[in-house]
């Protein structure tokens, strides 16, 4: 491994901010009390958790009582969707999208097994830019719809969905609305006083807090069924002794995110734009995935035709550059990412997609470093590629490939 690390994979996970670590440390050592205890040694921990709850609520325009701590974004997603179905046993329809994170996608695909009866799941398509058709969304809402679960921002492309409008349309019809805002919180302003969602998921490790802590926001008055049943923690809404240090860390991270929201949308955005523009300019046959503007300020997904993503990542790794790919080979599955396929990105492009996701810790010098290193890597791999010569575009030899997913 190279000594230098240029970390541009912040949608996968982020560095825990030093300020966050500092805030957490005492709760691993001296202040180890249980917040539920009657003694004041534990009680002081409880007060610190209350503070974290307030800080998180403040970042998203919520009330502290609407914050439930969970173990991760995935738990928050599961809790919200299963709760909505349990609280409305007569309704058997779920509306979601084709580009959700597996935390929502796989859950929706397994509802029948979990509940032992049939559900209808509408997974809304997206267009070539990754956007939803609102008219089609509106038409998909029925009397039988129990919940809509639509991510606020996509983890692979950064594309942002119009959650405010979508939630309002669901609200008019009395349908519960959940949004997986794991990638959005901390990167773009969110004010739940104005956006009528019922549930919202947050994951700590995407905004410079530790891994293994999350939040489910549940709007006051929304019927709720706990996912983990046990003690009276979280006012009976989520059993299990609190992950104290991480919760306190998440509170601090949310406070920092509020302060840095401006940096995220100016400096980070400018760095991302420079990186993206540079790559598209320096490398022929390269294409941005996702709408140019309706996007998180930190994310860019670029496809390089005729080369394969894993090979690109391993070359980048030699320079300590961390990114990720929607190629099939990196995930161990054989087909490229479901997000890029849903967008209709051609296979020739999808296999060679690379996602860079920045954070406030990235510098312009790092962007220049990537712009310097990546073009020759792509050129070299293209030299190796049998498709690079103009006459060899598309399939060669063998028993022809009719991928089911190219539709």
């Amino acid at each position: 491994m190279s000594e230098r690390v240029v970390y541009m994979d912040n949608n996968a996970t982020t560095r825990v901010a030093p300020e966050v670590v500092e805030e957490m440390l005492p709760y691993f050592s001296e202040l180890y009390g249980n917040p539920s205890s009657m003694h004041s040694f534990g009680g002081q921990v409880g007060r610190k958790i209350a503070e974290a709850r307030e800080r998180i609520a403040a970042l998203i325009g919520a009330q502290p009582e609407e914050i439930i701590f969970t173990s991760c974004g995935t738990e928050s997603d599961s809790t919200a969707i299963l709760s909505a179905l349990q609280s409305q046993p007569g309704k058997r329809h779920v509306v979601t999208t084709r580009v959700e994170h597996p935390a929502v996608k796989n859950l929706c695909e397994h509802l029948d097994k979990l509940f032992g009866h049939k559900h209808r799941v509408t997974a809304l398509p997206v267009d070539r830019e990754g956007l939803l058709d609102l008219e089609q969304y509106e038409k998909s809402l029925t009397e039988d719809t129990a919940i809509v679960s639509v991510m606020w921002a996509n983890n692979e492309t950064g594309v942002i969905f119009p959650i405010e409008e979508m939630a309002a349309l669901a609200r008019e019809r009395g349908i519960l609305f959940h949004t997986d805002a794991v990638q959005a919180v901390g990167k773009i302003p969110i004010n739940l006083a104005e956006v009528p969602v019922d549930f919202l998921s947050i994951s700590g490790h995407k905004l410079h807090a530790p891994k293994g802590v999350g939040v489910l926001y549940v709007r006051k008055g929304t019927p709720f069924f706990p996912f983990l049943v046990g003690g009276h923690q979280e006012r009976g809404r989520r059993g299990g002794t609190e992950n104290v240090a991480s919760i306190i860390g998440l509170g601090k991270a949310c406070e920092l995110a509020a302060q840095r929201m401006n940096v995220e949308n100016t400096k980070v955005r400018a760095l991302r734009d420079k990186l993206e523009a540079g790559l598209l300019e320096k490398i022929p046959h390269a294409l941005r995935n996702g709408h140019k503007d309706k996007r998180l300020p930190n994310t860019t997904s670029v496809s390089f035709e005729f080369v394969e993503g894993e090979a690109i990542l391993l070359h980048l790794d030699r320079y300590g550059i961390c990114a990720s790919s929607g190629s099939a080979c990196t995930s161990g599955s054989l087909e490229p990412s479901h997000v890029l396929r849903a967008m209709g990105v051609p296979f020739t492009m999808a296999h060679g997609s690379i996602r860079f996701s920045l954070s406030v810790y990235n510098t312009e010098e790092e962007v220049d470093f990537v712009l310097d290193k990546l073009p020759p890597i792509i050129a070299n791999l293209r030299e190796l590629s049998p498709f690079w010569q103009a006459e060899h575009r598309g399939a060669v030899g063998g028993a022809g490939c009719k991928c089911s997913c190219s539709s």
Partner: protein
């Protein structure tokens, strides 16, 4: 992150024999852009009939590039008869092993070699002759059966790792399982042509069940203060009643399935189902 051996990394970062031989004696092209990996192999024979030079171009991940590079190194200096014997396992071994999900990369190397040799000899591609089973990745039954036989594959997942077949829409999973069973049966038939599976008559079956209960099962249950009685046998369903300590034991269902049924399946026939009749 994949765990690649140093040899894989070396061949990926410093691939040997990249390019295309001008005026080659044999050309083999397999895979496609849509499938995520593709390989074009060219070779030239020397006056002694041995492979004098081999070059490749590959689109794909690190292990695809490394497998191609290894292949060209391995075949140089061989006669076509020798080269023909190289299997995908040989390629993987040359690289010090590949992650199991990446075995298909070595299979692609071997198939390109076969295609190139067939091309030289003016013969049709042997593996493309079969019926296409996996439409997504264009894999034929012959390719699948060969991988199953040579690498002793037992599950659809393994077949996908080796050949990519079944890695797309999944519609062909049943057919792949059939092919695995077919190969198993063929191998079985080769090994023991004489032995026919036993078919018990009903009387024989009931007698045997009684015998096993008496000889094997009751003594074991009695040790714990329990007992068992055979009530009836209907087809493959063996109805029993638990007695003594067993009848009130909370673990009695486990005893029935884990012990009684297992023993009966082992010693009588493996389709039996044991059920408890409460009296």
């Amino acid at each position: 992150m994949w765990e690649y051996t140093d040899k894989v990394k070396d061949h990926f970062l410093n691939p040997r024999n990249v390019g295309e031989i001008e005026d080659p004696d044999g050309v083999g092209e397999v895979g496609s852009l849509a499938c995520g990996d593709a390989l074009k192999l060219t070779f030239k024979l020397g006056p002694d009939g041995r492979i004098a030079d081999a070059k490749f171009k590959t689109f794909g991940c690190a292990s695809a590039i490394a497998s191609s590079s290894a292949l060209t190194e391995m075949i140089k200096g061989l006669t076509l008869e020798e080269a023909e014997k190289i299997t995908n396992e040989d390629i993987a071994n040359y690289l010090g092993g590949l992650p199991k999900e990446k075995m298909h990369c070595s299979v692609m190397g071997r198939e390109a070699l076969e295609a190139a040799i067939a091309n030289y000899r003016g013969q049709p591609l042997p593996m493309a002759q079969g019926e296409v089973v996996c439409e997504c990745f264009g894999v034929t039954d012959l390719e699948i059966k060969r991988a199953v036989a040579e690498s002793n594959l037992t599950s659809v997942e393994e077949v996908t790792n080796f050949t990519k077949a079944g890695g797309g829409c999944g519609k062909c999973h049943d057919r792949i399982m059939e092919l695995i069973l077919e190969v198993r049966k063929e191998q079985h038939a080769e090994r023991k042509p004489a032995e026919k599976p036993k078919r018990l008559t009903n009387i024989q079956k009931i007698k045997l069940i009684e015998e096993v209960l008496e000889r094997e099962i009751r003594p074991a249950l009695r040790k714990d203060g329990g007992d068992i009685e055979l009530i009836d046998v209907d087809g493959d369903v063996v109805m029993v009643s638990l007695r003594g300590a067993c009848s009130s034991c909370v673990a009695s269902q486990t005893t029935l399935k884990e012990y009684v049924e297992k023993k009966l399946r082992e010693l009588v026939t493996d389709t039996l189902v044991v059920e408890e009749v409460r009296q």
